[in-house]
């Protein structure tokens, strides 16, 4: 019996050496927390279809059936070109906004060497809502750019956190006093409470004195993720009506305290084209 153990033991020792450089996987379940992107992207040749849905404000009262009478929606497709590079296309009903994005996994956390994962996220938005009173709004003026650096760490099998500085550039702002380059910092994370369910939260802090002609607030969102095979269902509560880059980061007007809370859900479905 002792000999048996030594045979396995010697194998195990050399296997443990290999284990030290393992890439940490599954930092987050989804490609975003609620609105905030995570370090994750669809795998090579995988397509992710996402429906994001927000009802109206809870404080609309019984007349608006607590927001259920109204809804805004975003459809998004994200495709993995490689395991590290993904492209995305989306369209939100709010402002009839199209968006295109790139996400690149720059750095991947490993068990002993690299403490964090870092992904770069670039997003271009263009809104197509018609404003007859503003004939000067051409395609350029309607375009904004959002760049985010996502720094995440999986602390335990259940807890992952991320910090995300963001830089937005608006080609057109309402007045000269509004900054066309706007900065925000987001923080968020997920805590698994069963193998297939987790709580996600994010806080997006807009640095002060940038957007001055509108009363904008920082946005906070909470979600419960339920994973079932190729689907992830997410129930969310947020004070942001917008679901992409500049909208939830720099155009949120409601606050949680006043009940400007939107209930909604995100649903993702993965499709595979490998082989």
């Amino acid at each position: 019996m002792a000999q048996d153990n030594s045979l396995l033991q010697s194998l195990d020792d050399s296997l443990s050496v290999q284990q030290k450089h393992e890439v940490v996987t599954g930092t987050f379940k989804a490609t975003q927390l609620v609105n905030l992107p995570t370090v994750e992207s669809p795998g090579k040749q995988s397509l992710q279809f996402m429906i994001m849905h927000r009802f109206g404000k809870l404080n609309g009262g019984a007349y608006e059936l607590f927001g259920l009478d109204n809804a805004s929606i975003r459809f998004g497709f994200d495709y993995g070109i490689t395991d590290r590079l993904a492209v995305g296309l989306g369209r939100s009903s709010g402002d009839k906004t199209f968006d295109g994005s790139l996400k690149y996994k720059l750095l991947r956390q490993t068990t002993h060497q690299i403490p964090v994962s870092v992904s770069l996220y670039g997003l271009v938005t263009n809104y197509t809502q018609r404003y007859p009173d503003k004939p000067y709004l051409d395609a350029r003026y309607r375009t904004a750019y959002t760049t985010q650096v996502i720094i995440a760490r999986k602390f335990t099998r259940n807890l992952s956190l991320e910090v995300v500085p963001a830089w937005m550039h608006f080609n057109l702002v309402p007045t000269a006093r509004d900054k066309s380059d706007v900065f925000a910092v987001s923080a968020g994370g997920r805590m698994k409470f069963t193998k297939r369910m987790s709580i996600t939260a994010e806080y997006n802090y807009l640095l002060p004195d940038q957007v001055v002609t509108a009363s904008v607030k920082s946005s906070m969102s909470l979600g419960i993720d339920i994973e079932t095979g190729g689907h992830v269902f997410q129930l969310v509560f947020t004070n942001a009506s917008g679901m992409v880059g500049p909208y939830y980061l720099a155009k949120t007007t409601g606050t949680w305290g006043k009940g400007d809370i939107f209930f909604g859900f995100n649903v993702t479905r993965a499709f595979n084209f490998k082989k």
Partner: protein
């Protein structure tokens, strides 16, 4: 002809191959691990395998993620290990020897007895081993939610092949 002296007694590999294939009408799930560590000691007729669950490669990234996160829980149970004994004659000259292997397989924190027929092909300077057996996820406390029960086979065939070199 030269008489070839007795071959090595201890054999080892670091790139053995273990694959499994779960087949259901709903979905086929295939995975392969090409980084299996294995050793055979012919003098004591013992054999051992060990592997990292994370080294199983799936066609779909999402399957691989679910395998690691939800089923095998590779962060908690990173390895699968087998140790066993070889029954049957293994000669010292090149040739194919059919043997029986009995031992214990540990994965997902559960140890179960496993028996499998195997073929040991002794060649000049190498030993090629092949075997196949079935495992039931339920034997290893791997819980499959009812929602995906139809997509994962109750009994999963596992194939092993390894080319050993003298230690």
């Amino acid at each position: 002809m030269l008489y070839i002296p007795t071959q090595a007694q201890s054999w080892i590999t670091r790139n053995g191959k273990i694959s499994f294939y779960s087949k259901t009408p709903m979905e086929d799930i295939k995975a392969v691990n090409n980084q299996v560590f294995a050793a055979i000691d012919l003098s004591k007729k013992t054999i051992a395998f060990t592997l990292l669950q994370k080294n199983f490669l799936f066609e779909k990234q999402l399957m691989q993620e679910h395998f690691n996160e939800n089923y095998i829980e590779s962060d908690k149970y990173p390895k699968a290990q087998f140790e066993g004994t070889i029954t049957g004659n293994v000669g010292t000259t090149p040739g194919v020897y059919k043997v029986q292997i009995d031992g214990k397989l540990t994965m997902h924190g559960v140890t179960q007895p496993v028996s499998m027929p195997a073929e040991l092909n002794l060649q000049q300077g190498k030993l090629i081993g092949k075997s196949a057996f079935n495992i039931k996820p339920s034997d290893y406390n791997i819980k499959i939610p009812s929602l995906v029960k139809e997509k994962i086979a109750a009994e999963i065939p596992v194939q092993v092949s390894a080319e050993f070199l003298p230690k």
